[in-house]
Symmetry: C2
Subunit: 490 residues, 2 copies
């Protein structure tokens, strides 16, 4: 057990912050709200990127790159969009520094280098991209456009937390253009499915696919689809969104095309994104009081082999260890053989446990004599002995098992913390315990806002698979036709 490490029960939020720092995932930088993603954290993000990128390409998308800066006037063109982002954006006003004019040491923005029009550091790229698409689309033959961009974006949040909410973050944003409404909606849903598959099969995080209430929609969207996950403290985390933008941006940026029937029409749009926020979801879904727990497919290091031997015995241990390492690597498993003498065995055990390496193999000289090796799995913190024979096969199976176990554990947790709530009294009590409350809602923004004000709970989504069910709004008592998910959220 890691020393001086806050337990989840004591203070979940502090546990999270400590974990991020101590597992060397990230740290706060000197720049307000911006984090440094450290090599170990970035290695996990890279694995996530690689898998997502492949899934995007398999669904016909190509990567491109659009400018970091957005002219202020572009930003103003879509009314709801600017309303959503103007209050939290970094504004570039000058393109040069000069020595201070008051004679003091240091630099100041050069008044002669003031920009005629301010530039906004992109908080999202719909505006600059739709301005570009105008030049790419003339006829239906030019459609669809299926682009994705891996980029950094900036939203000047007042309260930041590493990975979950930072002023600058890394993400991908897909922006597609279509000839018909139906095709755009299909694309929106397809990408939601890609995100759900990624979350469940790779991150081992069960998610609920749904659609946002109008209040929670992306600024400028007609519909926002999302995947919602439940963290171990019972709070919800929006893990990905896919927006059907209608013709809003096409109208704002005058992007029209000639149909097969020779008519001029506005183009239909979607956008969809996931960000480094997913790192927060990963941490808060699986990790424990001993540190990070990683699903094997995303672990930068999947197996660590630690020898317990000295002198002549070490030669034999080395031999077996390196043979095992080679065998595992030939199966595509990443392995480190740590026989460094800089740190003690205890230190190593703690370190790899804290960093969430899924399987630890300890090879001692005495074990070798017995022909039995100790395997430790990080998810359950349990040990097993296995014969030297077929050891690589056993480890490979163990990794699969850990991946499956993490998912089913998270799913059981969510199921245990998802309940139907039918009275306001019940709601106000149950919301304090966390979890997803499935409730009837009258469909009005007023009720939604009132509930948020009173309980800090929001509608996470209207699940796509919500069954028709007649009932009465948990707050207003008005009639309702299906249940929605209320929860407090990150």
């Amino acid at each position: 057990m890691a020393k001086d490490f806050t337990k989840r029960e004591e203070n979940y939020s502090q546990w999270y912050n400590e974990l991020v720092e101590r597992a060397s995932l990230a740290e706060n930088s000197a720049v307000r709200g911006c984090m440094v993603i450290k090599p170990y954290g970035y290695a996990i993000w890279e694995k996530m990127q690689a898998i997502l990128d492949k899934m995007f390409k398999q669904t016909g998308h190509q990567n491109a790159y659009f400018p970091l800066f957005i002219p202020k006037s572009y930003f103003e063109k879509e009314a709801e969009h600017v309303e959503g982002f103007a209050k939290e954006c970094a504004v570039v006003t000058h393109h040069r520094l000069k020595p201070k004019s008051n004679g003091e040491a240091g630099l100041e923005p050069d008044p002669d280098a003031k920009l005629e029009e301010e530039l906004i550091v992109r908080p999202t790229s719909e505006t600059i991209i739709w301005d570009t698409y105008r030049g790419w689309v003339q006829s239906y033959r030019d459609l669809p456009i299926l682009c994705n961009q891996w980029a950094n974006v900036v939203r000047w949040e007042m309260r930041t937390r590493m990975f979950l909410r930072t002023a600058e973050f890394l993400w991908q944003e897909g922006h597609t253009a279509h000839a018909t409404k139906e095709e755009a909606i299909e694309e929106t849903k397809k990408m939601l499915d890609v995100y759900a598959t990624f979350a469940e099969q790779f991150m081992a995080i069960p998610v609920i696919k749904g659609v946002k209430s109008p209040n929670e929609r992306f600024a400028g969207a007609l519909d926002t689809y999302c995947i919602e996950a439940m963290m171990q403290d019972g709070k919800a985390l929006q893990a990905g969104t896919s927006h059907f933008l209608g013709q809003n941006f096409a109208k704002a940026f005058d992007v029209k095309f000639m149909t097969k029937e020779n008519k001029i029409e506005y183009v239909w749009a979607t956008s969809w994104g996931v960000s480094t926020r997913l790192m927060g979801a990963l941490i808060m879904t699986h990790s424990d009081d001993n540190g990070l727990v990683l699903p094997p497919v995303l672990a930068p290091l999947q197996v660590v082999i630690i020898p317990i031997a000295k002198g002549e015995q070490k030669v034999k241990v080395d031999e077996l260890s390196l043979k095992l390492k080679a065998e595992l690597e030939s199966k595509g498993i990443s392995v480190k053989y740590d026989d460094s003498e800089q740190y003690s065995m205890g230190w190593k055990f703690n370190e790899y446990e804290f960093k969430g390496v899924p399987v630890r193999v300890t090879i001692g000289a005495r074990d070798l004599e017995k022909g039995v090796i100790e395997l430790f799995r990080r998810d359950t913190l349990t040990k097993e002995n296995h014969s030297v024979e077929n050891l690589a096969d056993r480890i490979s199976a163990l990794l699969d098992d850990i991946q499956a176990n993490l998912y089913s554990k998270a799913l059981s947790f969510r199921q245990a913390h998802t309940i139907n709530v039918d009275s306001w009294e019940d709601f106000t009590q149950k919301i304090e315990q966390g979890g997803f409350l499935l409730c009837h809602w009258d469909g009005t923004a007023e009720t939604e806002e009132k509930i948020k004000e009173l309980t800090k709970a929001t509608i996470r989504c209207i699940p796509l698979d919500a069954e028709a069910e007649e009932g009465f709004c948990v707050y207003s008592g008005q009639p309702s036709h299906r249940r929605v998910i209320f929860a407090r959220a990150y």
Copy 2:
């Protein structure tokens, strides 16, 4: 031959701009000096990234991510560094927009959201990274730190050209920290070798490894190593740099460590980078009056198969084409079978030729009867017939051949345009014809600046393999001990 496409001889610069746009590599954006990298251009960059990233990891480096913004005061800490970048940087001064106070429509920076300290959009990350490294290094055990970052950077250049010089560009920047001077210099040279290997083996661009004169050094470096390439117009292009930074940044940011001998010392630094500028080098080294020419290992699409058949014949052609496609793909070759009916054959031929697809395979019904297929190679614009048997093997060999041919062609060109020049008169004449002039130089910044002023030529580098040779400076007549490379440069 592409219609209305400027020839290199007519106007090299215009040929370049037209090529970049018409091959769908990039386009200028609405934001001054910033470009949009289009999917086809980005696909080439992605291939370059993947290869480089692998090479960095093989040499022990890890990726990380540091903030986009640099507080102005950090920027000021290394005197030469700030001098080099202050005149061309984007300055963030506000974090919010608000409706205009004069009642007009539109937004303006909110005076209440003025930053206490301005933030600079990174032009390079030494300052923010060395501020971070201070927290990572206590003892020699924490060294070396071998980090790389893939990122966007902004330098507010006044005259921009797509890929070659843009206000925002994409790059990687390696930043390493070492316990000794020797180790840091070794790292600097190692990464220069990585760049040279990448340029020659993957980009098919021969480069000269050298060291910059003090005038051309990176702001803050003790030594700047570089690889220099020659473009088809005889101008030089700096394709990558690797800097030995000494202890400058460690001193500016107070990064010290305890040595094995329990002494406190400053850490030694290197940084090294290549950028989307390499795309410009790639284009200007190989392309021709028919459009883009790509080395096969970097071509997003390596082979295109175009059928010439209709009706029943098409069935047979399809069958053979798809079999060939599968065979090529099993060899790791990317292939497109273009039997779309939207465009004519002539259009397709032109399109793939202009986009630099290395090999075109035309499969006609009549050819099938004869058992002979036409192969067209983009580099030499020549055709050959090959029997249906072993066709995939032939194509695979052809791709290797094209890769090798592009390199040797570029090498021959450079050799033919590299000459020894020993008199000032000769220099002023020869420099007009382009190419590399190998000259004696007296080693002074004054002479270098004078030559630049008179001829626009700069010292590209002092080649690492320059042989000792006594002589006299081509401009001043002062004694010199080796030749350096003068050229006009991008």
